[in-house]
Amino acid sequence: MRFPYYPGCTLKSSAVNFEKTALASAEALGVELVELPRWNCCGAVYSLTSDDLIHHTAPLRVLIRCQEAYKGGLVDEPRLVTLCAMCYNTLRRENAAVREDSERLRKLNEFMDKEENYECGVEVVHFLTILRNLGLRKISECVRQPLDGLRVAPYYGCLLLRPREVSVDDPENPTIMEDILEALGAEVVDIPYKAKCCGAYHGLVGDEVVAELSYRILRQASERGADVVVLACPLCEFNLGRQEVVRRRYRNFKPIPVVYFTQLMALAFGLPMEECGFEMNRIDPRPVLEKKLYR
């Protein structure tokens, strides 16, 4: 089954380990993620202005690329798979907005007169949804090296869950990552802050907000006995993965490794540790992985 895959800018730069392990995991599951042959930045932030349509050309163009790929026979379904939660959020909301507002769609289509018209046939999904649809049994069947003994704390952040219309799961108490990680054999540590904000872009203007919010999340994971925090978005990694900001403000903070769920999935599916991109994770998870998994 070939799905169109939209990487987004970060998956090609600071999160190549996320992409690599996601593609490897998908392959093990019999799913082919076909990168769109031509794509542009989704715009990152979904613009909330109602009269400023120029900021909507970027995500709409991505949807048109997916439409082109589907019409061109490169993929089997027009379900656009994303790995980055921010891209997921922006693209899905754009898709919903143009489907609801035909005038907006018309204006954007007319402005982008060098592109074919967007016909609203694309569905935007996060890789987690594809995995849920495949079923936990299928995931368990592909496990070669169960993650027994590893205590993991999934963190969702905001963009996978809000606004409610685009949420991949229950926005207050999502369990999709927990279910997958348990199917891989890991022991899940639930943290109440798993769906709370990490501080997002506040880090660009100062330390305090990111330090405090990220500290709360990471400390809770540590206190509850997690070995690693597990993410589904490379932007969460900017704050939670790179812990210098937290360490600057909280001298007693003990760093905790942060990994992408696909890195653990690929490891469980049998990919050698060296190929899971752990050298890119700021706090090296390999010592704890080796200790817990390879006694």
């Binding site: 730069s13 794509w39 542009n40 120029i54």
Partner: protein
């Protein structure tokens, strides 16, 4: 022929707001010279290759701005045009020897590329049919090779920079991509190194001195008798 034949159609063009009638079939550049303008800036190769004669124009009755190279585009009736001999754009100063081909190099030197809206105005402004938006996007995600290859035909005419709503100067980004690609990523030519050494050591000096010492007639004869390998 120094004078157009009487039956040639004239078309109306407006140069910087003033109306003129010029013979049909002239390029914008020729038409402006016909009117009496003399180019001391904004004209170069006259062959569509140097980017000196960037022009913005509008057709009567149409709100859209269009772009062209003055030496290539023919005048049409109702054309309101202005030439842009210089696009004010800031090139970042860098030492290519100190740079490395990392994915972040574009964002470090030209952080404004993160403002790219993917509006495609730059592509539409390009007189060379280059997919400008695509190479800026490639640079944004650190794909040096793609940015270099897509921007290959760029003649730095400046039209994309003049029109970009985000204030990006795409051609400088493309230039950086091509420089990095050529210096660090393409295979090096061993033959070139050898040839440069030969030149330095004077292997060709005698032959060159002989040519320099020839008269114009001798050179012409030599040229006419050259053997062209097919």
């Amino acid at each position: 022929m120094t004078r157009p034949p009487d039956k040639v159609r004239k078309v109306r063009i407006y140069v910087m707001g003033k109306k003129y009638e010029v013979p049909e079939g002239l390029t914008i550049m020729k038409a402006m010279e016909y009117i009496g303008y003399k180019f001391i800036r904004g004209a170069g190769c006259r062959g569509g290759f140097c980017g000196a004669c960037a022009t913005i124009y509008r057709m009567e009755g149409d709100y859209r701005l269009q772009v062209a190279l003055a030496c290539q585009e023919l005048v049409r009736d109702g054309m309101y045009l202005t030439m842009i001999p210089f696009a004010p754009a800031k090139k970042k100063t860098y030492d290519i020897r100190k740079l490395r081909p990392t994915p972040n190099v574009f964002l470090q030197l030209y952080p404004e590329i993160a403002r790219c809206l993917s509006c495609n105005t730059c592509t539409r402004a390009c007189p060379q049919d280059i997919p400008v938006m695509d190479y800026v996007q490639a640079a944004l995600r650190g794909d040096i090779k793609e940015a270099a290859e897509l921007s290959f035909d760029c003649i730095a005419c400046g039209l994309c920079a003049v029109r970009c709503p985000a204030g990006i100067v795409p051609y400088y980004v493309g230039l950086l991509a091509r420089r990095l690609y050529g210096k660090y990523m393409l295979p090096k030519s061993e033959e070139l190194k050898r040839r440069v050494e030969e030149i330095r050591s004077g292997v060709f000096d005698a032959e060159l001195d002989k040519l320099v010492g020839m008269s114009v007639d001798e050179l012409k004869r030599l040229y006419e008798m050259r053997v062209v390998k097919r």
